[in-house]
Amino acid sequence: MSLTASTIEPDLDSDGGNERNDMTSGSLDGRPMWGIRVVSVAAGLAGYLAFGAVNWALWILVGLVVYVVTTLLVSRFVESPREATDRFSTAVMTSAFAVVLLPLVSVVWTVIERGSNRFDWDFYSTTMRGVIGEGGGGYHAIIGTLVITALTTIFAVPFGLFTAIYLVEYATGSRFAKAVTSLVDVMTGIPSIVAGLFAYALFVFLDDIPALTALSTGVGHRSGLAGAVALTLLMTPVVVRTSEEMLRLVPNELREASFALGVPRWRTIVKVVLPTAIAGILTGIVLAIARVIGETAPLLVTVGITADVNWNPIDGRMAALPVFSYNSYKFPTLPVEASQDRAWAAALTLVLLVVILFSIARILSSILKPKGLK
């Protein structure tokens, strides 16, 4: 797939290959283009130095505008209008990319900068119990996040994987399978807060059944289990999607060979199909975990927040990192900075968790890739 990207690369900036430009009066390839780039950077830098550092992003924008406009004008005069449009579009695409990088880099930078204020052992080893001003930490929230995410994974992975197995291995094209496929699509689109409301309503309902009351003790029907149910609703469709895609990639010849040897279907699935697709499936699962680990809204509704460690998902409120971060920022205690620092430290922890999960996914997919497949 990625081959297509590399096929068309008439490198605009290389010095060689001037045959095409023999027909035009001049060419901007090579040095002239670099000249324009240097001028643009200089323009941005000059503005920054002359008018002060109120907002460095503004001067990057100015530099980009200079780049786009000069490219268009110079190319228009030196080369043909067609070449000018082409260079203009290249400049616009490149600038758009640079513009997008600005906020994204800023987000990452801010999280690291602000989060590092409380990125210390204290934050990872203490809870908020009895803490009013400075100090305290997110230990209880980390425990909560781990418990809830682990539960979610335990629910969603078999649920999603077996659904995918049904769709690919058992029910190719049946009407029921089509219905399930489109319902998975609907599930993918459920807003996270709606998933939270559903779990809440479900546990309020369960609470009325005497035998199940234990599931939703806790004040106001808040529990870690309810949170896990809400997150399962969000994670399952992602697992189904990726597993389905991976199972479909397994060549049919492998299944046929296995059947020909008299192996039952279920053993074929377990011993032949799954091992072949396992790299992609595990990668998909890890990425799905990364998606739900930062979910705030459903947990806000179903789990609430506490100040202390709670390992038991069916025993009332728990803290989770995203909710902890939100609450510390939205309802700070004095001094405000201490609360905000805790919020940012929790945010940094979350981002680190996501990055770690992404790295794990990457490593998994390269380690487990079967030798037969490219």
């Binding site: 082409d86 987000v107 399930v180 459920i190 807060i193 509704v301 981002v351 992404f358």
Partner: protein
């Protein structure tokens, strides 16, 4: 009953659905079928519980108790307006940029760099929304409320979007800021999907265009964009679905008021459904909770409609060279 009867997968034989007469096969088929059926049950439960707790318990039986004569509509109306308004602005800001970035990654950047960039974009889509919210209110809001708001008000104040009697929000906690943050959040999603379809453009289409002497931009206009159009639109719709349901960034940044507000620069803004639930839910009890669940149902229907349209467009696909 022997294995010889086992149909091959992918065949059109309807007996595929039949489990083979072996205990292991029966169990395995049961598990898979059960999981698939559970998907159906789960979604039915979602619709049922939301309808019962929200629609029945509040809208049908008791809505005048909290909302007076206006009924539920007077409560949910401004919220729907706010949700759609903010998401639409976010989408307008994000889509053109996302398409340009996707084209850059798929057709302009060197291949090695392009792969890394794609990975980076995926990673950004997974950054939790609380983080974007915190960033929006600490970094972005002060910057754009000081540099852009006064300028927009002075120069474009004749448009209702930027002009009204209400003063500019000094804190920057306005619709405009939220829309920019949401645009940043949905951008990776739209980019990822667009990049994917752009990369799938048949190589022959591209090479044919180049062989006729087209420049790179002309090739993109002739081959890549017609091929990817439906994919891009459905990507944008998925981004819209995401923006509609986005909760935390809005709850953290926006300064809400109840009512309909067009001006995007002030501290009086129509709240979104999701953010309203997040803000109100922890302090609600009794009927108020049912009312919030009813608004959640409205949001569910709204995103469902948007996603359905997106899938429609996506499945329509590429219909021919002239697009």
């Amino acid at each position: 009953m022997t294995m010889l009867d086992t149909p091959l997968p992918g065949g059109n034989d309807s007996s595929i659905d039949q489990p083979v007469g072996k205990a292991g096969d029966k169990v395995f088929f049961g598990l898979s079928f059960g999981a698939a059926a559970l998907i159906l049950v789960t979604l039915a439960a979602v619709a049922l519980f939301l309808s019962y707790q929200g629609l029945y318990e509040y809208v049908v039986s008791d809505s005048d108790q909290l909302d007076g004569d206006g009924g539920f509509l007077s409560y949910v109306g401004p919220l729907v307006f706010g949700t759609v308004y903010i998401s639409a602005i976010a989408l307008l800001l994000a889509t053109p940029v996302a398409i340009a970035v996707a084209l850059y990654i798929s057709h302009y950047a060197p291949r090695k760099i392009a792969q890394t960039l794609g990975y980076f974009i995926d990673l950004l889509a997974a950054i939790p929304s609380v983080v974007y919210g915190l960033w929006g209110i600490t970094v972005l809001a002060p910057i754009i409320s000081q540099s852009m708001f006064p300028w927009l008000r002075e120069n474009l104040g004749f448009i209702p979007l930027f002009g009204s009697d209400v003063a500019i929000a000094q804190s920057g906690r306005s619709t405009f800021t939220v829309s920019v943050v949401l645009a940043v959040m949905v951008l990776p999603i739209i980019t990822a999907i667009s990049r994917e379809v752009f990369l799938q453009t048949p190589r022959l289409h591209e090479e044919a265009s180049l062989a006729l002497g087209a420049t790179r931009w002309e090739m993109i206009r002739q081959a890549v964009i017609p091929y990817g159009r439906s994919g891009v639109i459905s990507g944008a719709m998925l981004g819209l679905g995401r923006a509609l349901g986005e909760t935390m960034a809005v709850a953290i940044i926006l300064s809400p008021a109840s009512g309909y507000f067009w001006d995007v620069l002030t501290a009086q803004n129509s709240n979104t459904i999701a953010s309203n639930i997040a803000l109100q839910f922890p302090e609600s009890a009794g009927l108020e909770v049912n009312r919030l669940i009813a608004t959640g149902l409205v949001l569910f229907v709204l995103t469902f409609a948007v996603n359905a349209v997106a899938r429609r467009i996506a499945s329509a696909g590429f219909s021919g060279a002239d697009g």
